[in-house]
């Protein structure tokens, strides 16, 4: 009985988080805010679904497996990487480096791989703009 309540709670929480993550993708006004909603909420939603699946397989079907934990671990490892890449893409496409606020260190914003590459590409862009 307790296990059933636990599985039900996991399923309901997972569904709500998945829905909120995708709704945030539609509703939030700024691209950087939109980045926040799915990468956090949907990962937790998938985590809830996989934990519910693991509990169900172990306590009700009777065969335990670690596969769900592998998928959860993989998603938790890759979500920050994809979030960082999409944020870099947004910075690269929508902002010039000189329009961004100062970073507070010697290094500029990391939307290119090196400073020399950034200066080269920006010089090309300025040449084509003028």
């Amino acid at each position: 009985m307790i296990i059933e309540i636990l599985i039900t709670a996991c399923l309901v929480i997972s569904g709500i988080f998945g829905l909120v993550g995708s709704f945030g993708l539609l509703k939030l006004p700024d691209p950087m805010m939109r980045l926040h909603a799915p990468t956090k909420a949907t990962t937790l939603g998938v985590g809830g679904a996989l934990v519910a699946s693991m509990l169900y397989m172990h306590f009700i079907n009777g065969n335990f497996s670690f596969h769900e934990l592998m998928i959860t671990l993989f998603l938790f490892l890759t979500a920050p990487v994809t979030g960082n890449f999409i944020a870099k893409t947004h910075l690269h496409l929508n902002h010039k480096a000189r329009d961004l606020p100062p970073t507070g260190t010697d290094r500029p914003w990391a939307s290119y791989e090196s400073d020399a590459m950034r200066e080269k590409i920006e010089a090309e862009q300025d040449a084509t703009a003028n």
């Binding site: 998945g18 691209p31 679904a49 596969h67 769900e68 993989f74 994809t82 999409i86 496409l93």
Partner: protein, 89 residues
């Protein structure tokens, strides 16, 4: 009790997939489109895990593992293409 929770979670994720498809079709920029595709893949993984609970088998975990890997690789290559104009240099 679990059946109703499963139905609820299925409908939530179905609605989430519809929202993602809307965002892919009508999007303010390529970054949002890539983000919507990434979210679509993650929702598909959750849907597959729920389907595994419904059927009572563990067969679908390998499939969701493969979907997770291809989703990650495709998101990284999309963003890489937007950043550098090339995927493998």
């Amino acid at each position: 009790m679990i059946e109703y929770a499963l139905l609820f979670a299925f409908s939530c994720y179905g609605l989430a997939l519809l929202m993602n498809i809307y965002r892919i079709i009508q999007s303010p920029g390529p970054g949002d489109r890539i983000l919507a595709l990434d979210t679509l893949v993650i929702n598909a993984i959750a849907l597959l895990a729920l389907f595994g609970i419904l059927e009572g088998t563990t067969v679908y975990f390998e499939a969701s593992m493969i979907i997770a890997m291809t989703g990650f690789i495709s998101t990284v290559s999309f963003t890489r293409f937007m950043l550098r104009g090339d995927i493998i240099e």
